[in-house]
Symmetry: C2
Subunit: 222 residues, 2 copies
């Protein structure tokens, strides 16, 4: 019974996700969905990424939170378009869905827009189930969270295209086994492209930025 309801919800969501995909696709706008647990560093990653790319590309952010506009305020200094989605007034959902993205897009000027970053609600479980119509699903995992997360939350790692292992500046003070993490990721999803970086120090950031540049180019030529 409960599963039936869930399937209907997901089917309805997929329909709207396809509409989003057509809308962004006909505009050649690349859409990147960032997902992770609370506190893995999604906003800090975005902050540095936008800072590095805003001179090259026209960027917008769709910011998802249960409540507050704190993250949107942090990113406002870049002068890019930002739409905040708060899920608290619409049921307190622990994830974004396709219709929220569709509504948010109505508030964006799509003209010449190269990239939309979607910052999902902090949650390593539920957002994995909801297609938004994005080009790349990205999971962040900070090194402080341990190496076992791909095995314990496999769906997120299975649906994603990119994984960002964040906060690598803290490696020297942690008992963290990066090889084990890589092995766990490979076990769950061998196709996942992995970026190990620190948004604080900038280490590993170039590979991440270049991958985004390549994806923008591919989208323009699609």
């Amino acid at each position: 019974m409960e599963i039936k309801v869930l399937q209907k919800v997901l089917a309805a969501n997929d329909r709207v996700a396809n509409e989003n995909r057509s809308m962004f696709g006909s505009n050649k706008t690349l859409v990147i969905n960032l997902m992770s647990s609370p506190g893995s560093g999604k906003t800090t990653l975005l902050d540095r990424t936008i800072d590095a790319l805003k001179g090259e590309f026209k960027i917008a952010v769709i910011e998802g939170d249960i409540q507050t506009t704190m993250d949107a305020e942090r990113l406002a200094r870049h002068g890019v378009q930002i739409v905040q989605i708060n899920t608290a007034p619409i049921g307190g959902d622990c994830h974004l869905d396709a219709s929220m993205i569709n509504s948010a897009a109505q508030d964006l000027s799509l003209d010449g827009l190269d990239i939309v970053f979607v910052e999902n609600v902090g949650n390593l479980v539920c957002p994995a189930e909801f297609e938004l119509g994005e080009d790349f699903k990205t999971v962040l995992l900070s090194v402080t969270e341990g190496e076992d997360k791909p095995l314990k939350y496999p769906l997120m790692f299975q649906v994603c295209n990119w994984a960002v292992v964040s906060k690598t500046d803290l490696l020297s003070v942690l008992d963290y086994d990066m090889d084990k993490m890589r092995e766990h990721i490979k076990q769950v999803n061998p196709k996942l492209e992995v970026f190990e970086l620190s948004a604080r120090s900038g280490a590993g950031f170039d590979a991440w930025l270049n991958r985004i540049r390549e994806a923008v180019r591919a989208k323009k030529n699609a």
Copy 2:
């Protein structure tokens, strides 16, 4: 429509949670529900807590994960009773609910049992909505996750009795403002009892253990 379904689910859950409360209550067993994002340190906290208290009390653990038995295996060395709940075969739920606890309790020997620790699925959102019939709801938040989480995920902090600010051994390498965190917690739930500790170094651990000892005594005398 969707909200109606949710209310029915929650009402059914509350009924079973009350049954659990009676069952554990008549047995004078203290039940502590540990909730947090993935990687905040629930298992590490439990590991050190059980190690310190297993000589004084008869302890059991109900271990919740979407899949894997990795956490249960980590705790097995203490020789306490452990029941693993994997939610993947029953829909992949991102939280434990009262009926899962009720089923798990059937596999526990309650005779003389002083404490049941429940380690919930790693998720700072959904587990907050489900009563399990516990005495104390505890939220863990590691200092690597930032000071803004109480404001962004307020329900979890509102429903909890205790908060554990974990991984304080990392404070020296982080830009973390503990006063701001305390202020945010106070804003969301002024009654929350806060424990700042490191399960790695042991700093702050005595206050946490003593609070549990006090709760066990209170339960025996209830």
